[in-house]
Symmetry: C2
Subunit: 343 residues, 2 copies
């Protein structure tokens, strides 16, 4: 659709030059009150809306932020309602600061990020980036402000938003220990123990788990390390394994979604939660508190996460150097119904 009304027509209607109209629109000041009023009325009457594209072409500021989300990674987006909350926070924050969000689902392997230059994006929020595959390097090469959310990046120069994951791991494990559990299985996700250190988030939660164990003088048993995908399905598989294990009385899942699967699976196998096995998750999805039984979990404010990401990004874009490149959000233990004293 073509521009129906443009600057020149407003100018004609107000009997001034286009430069003056432009000055009025951008509040440049140097316009007499009388003319300004004339111009504003003309704008009003004609229902003029400026063409941002033309403006961007000139100013190189698109006020457009790309939200980069790897798709088709099993156990991530499609399966995890977590992302909806995050998105809500990001959109809201962007709107408040007069930015728009452009959605970019990508295949991490072969994405060139051409759209960033093509559409002159002001910045990027990259959710769940991984260090592998080189996608992150390619993004950085673009030279565009970028914030990584829930990514597993060890480079301290990058802007990141994450949680106090270690504390979360600690709190969850301590809670189970205090209840009297000693055989506490752990489900980080679909990852081998020796690769845990490459994944910041999981590594931290893991450290918290180990730390709590140590403080309590409980030895760590590597056989209690489970490896299943971060999804409802993965939780189901973990439940089957738990049943075989026999002596495990509690599980710490690093995500609510798989914790839900575990609870579901355990019950299907005829085991009681928390009667036979206690389950604790991580995330506190909007649904977690409403399950039956309600899930005990480590809570994070996901909407806050989105807001923080936007803030960090906009500060970069507008050169307002923030103090820190990494925002660490707090966690909170929410004790509900899936944990109890061991049988």
């Amino acid at each position: 659709m073509k521009q129906d009304i443009r600057l020149s027509e407003v100018a004609r209607a107000a009997r001034v030059s286009i430069a003056t109209v432009s000055n009025v629109i951008n509040d440049k000041g140097r316009v007499s009150t009388a003319t300004e009023r004339r111009v504003r009325r003309a704008i009003e009457q004609l229902g003029y809306a400026p063409n941002l594209l033309a403006r961007i072409l000139k100013t190189n500021q698109s006020r457009l932020i790309g939200l980069v989300i790897p798709t088709a990674r099993p156990g991530r987006l499609q399966d995890n309602p977590f992302y909806w909350d995050l998105l809500a926070g990001i959109e809201e924050g962007a709107r408040d600061r007069d930015f728009h969000i452009i959605l970019a689902g990508i295949e991490e392997g072969d994405e060139t990020f051409a759209f960033v230059k093509e559409r002159q994006l002001d910045g990027l929020i990259y959710v769940g980036a991984s260090e592998e595959g080189g996608a992150v390097e390619r993004v950085l090469e673009l030279g565009v402000p970028c914030v990584f959310v829930d990514s597993y990046l060890r480079d301290a120069r990058l802007y990141q938003v994450c949680l106090d994951d270690r504390l979360g791991g600690l709190l969850a494990t301590q809670h189970l220990l205090e209840l009297g559990h000693r055989r506490i299985a752990v489900l980080p996700g679909d990852i081998a123990p020796e690769r845990l250190h490459r994944n910041g988030v999981l590594q931290e939660r893991w450290s918290g788990y180990r730390l709590a164990l140590e403080e309590a003088g409980v030895g760590y048993d590597p056989r209690l390390f489970m490896r299943y995908p971060t999804s409802m399905e993965g939780g189901l598989q973990a439940a089957a394994w738990l049943r075989e294990a026999g002596d495990v009385t509690a599980v710490f899942s690093f995500s609510d979604i798989s914790a839900m699967g575990i609870v579901k699976g355990l019950r299907q196998e005829g085991l009681g939660v928390p009667a036979d096995i206690s389950v604790i998750g991580f995330d506190d999805l909007c649904l977690s508190g409403y399950m039956s039984p309600a899930l005990t979990t480590v809570s994070q404010n996901i909407v806050q996460k989105g807001l923080a990401a936007i803030r960090l990004l906009v500060d970069q874009i507008e050169q307002e150097a923030g103090f820190s490149r990494k925002v660490v959000l707090p966690v909170e233990l929410k004790v509900r119904e899936t944990t109890g004293t061991p049988a």
Copy 2:
């Protein structure tokens, strides 16, 4: 960030005019194979990416679609994971057709939709529009292709994607009737019976409910009409009411999210599901099948919904007039664990 490499530099490197480079880029044909190769190599070597904004300014085609989502309406977005699935479908469809999605959370009351003209959007997908407040009229005035998803619009000229809601209502109710239930409560949402006709989706599901009752020769009792918000919280309230009602043996909730709340609430009140009361929902969220007990529901393919919306929109944008303005997606009854024979 300023354009690092532009057409003119590619032209210089390839020793041709910018017009020729443009012709190569846009596959206009009229270029000799030799020059084309030279140009392509220059593009490659310089890492040139065209500036879409400049192109759009000239061609008026932004290949950008606005996804309009009313925010802050309780019981909608924030609370309902449903939208995440929808979004995934829309983004995927858009990507396949080389469009990008720009997210626009709006307050339905006072949104002017200025961003549509400002950013020269090619089209709009409006999720959950309501006939009230005049937002729809304002959108239509823009003269931009538009598709309404899950909106309650009676104007047959509008492009819409929805479900076979009536069939869904019919199937759900028939299922309960066949199990032997006679006192079947219904929870459409936070809406009065006399206003139901203004809301296409709910009205249709309602018709299905009434129809099934009629076919089975079961009289309709208006006291079984519940009115609570479409959210987990609303379901909880409904559960409290059900307990008071006493003789109700089954409930049909028009959304999974409130059905989950009902199940949760009922159990808290000490009632068994489905032992005392059967519950059936509508949506089939990704989590619904994994709850304990798993929710019986009317299933819709939400991702398909997103894809259909994009198709309908792109057909409009590219003038490929489709047959029909309204796409009605199928529903399917998924019998799981929350329904059974009455006590």
